[in-house]
Symmetry: D2
């Protein structure tokens, strides 16, 4: 079972919070809300998405790149896949 399937409760909690924040932001925009408040809501969503990303990335590194029973070839593939992901995050 992938680490996502085996550990999705805390991740689902995080994603549902982000959904709720997006819904609240949608309402604020519909109501023509104050733009400083809107900018703060966006910063909060951004922080929540970064938190989710760090959690999934940490699980991925522990469960895949750090797995014990990998052949050298499998390990190298996991490492290169991680580096591709990190490049998109560390821009």
């Amino acid at each position: 079972m992938s680490h996502i399937a085996g550990n999705n409760k805390p991740l689902l909690t995080r994603v549902r919070r982000i959904k709720g924040q997006a819904e609240a932001l949608e309402k604020a925009l519909q109501d023509g809300g104050d733009c400083v408040a809107v900018l703060q809501q966006i910063a909060a969503i951004r922080g929540a998405v970064n938190g989710l990303m760090n959690q999934v990335l940490a699980d991925h590194i522990r469960e895949h790149v750090g797995a014990d029973a990998l052949t050298p070839a499998q390990r190298q593939q996991e490492v290169e896949q991680l580096l591709t992901i990190l490049q998109s995050y560390l821009k």
Copy 2:
């Protein structure tokens, strides 16, 4: 009318897209999806939130900090408010 109220259509489109991405991510997590695909979905949401942020920030700077008919005191208040927002975004 605040620039949010007067220009919320493109902003609402962006927020609804983020909501849709969060819903798709929720489904992927429920299905125990592949974690590299999940990490790529999160990177896409992150990019969409940054895009929304840049759009609202640009509108805010043009409409508030750059407004013509402000007293020096009003202008200074707008500038300090902008600097507070930028500090949370430029960490």
Copy 3:
């Protein structure tokens, strides 16, 4: 006198610190230093550069975009120039 000229002492202090950090990093690399220590030195330089950036950006917004005696056309030009700078920083 530009705000850079009138206020360059604190900025020069920051830049000289960054130069010193880069020299220390150069020495660590020549000595074949421990890579975790090298990664932490790089993170410290990154933090120092961000601090310098925030300082100059805040001065720029206060002194240029927030200046009192600007025509509407001059103000608009300052605003658009600021937005161009922010795009390169908020990627």
Copy 4:
């Protein structure tokens, strides 16, 4: 030999470029340079530091976390060390 010692030429080239950029920025500040040009120089240094960081991080992941001949305990230690480093970079 650590991957830093064995591969420091390209890293030294990057660090010396950053030193040169810092020296040029120091001169621009001393001359009371144009602040938009100064902001662009800082953005360039920031990009160079990020490039150096990505290079050392990739080497570190390949050579340490992805090394073949590690015991499970050693591998777990390398993984946790990497996660600590990533937390400071992915803020």
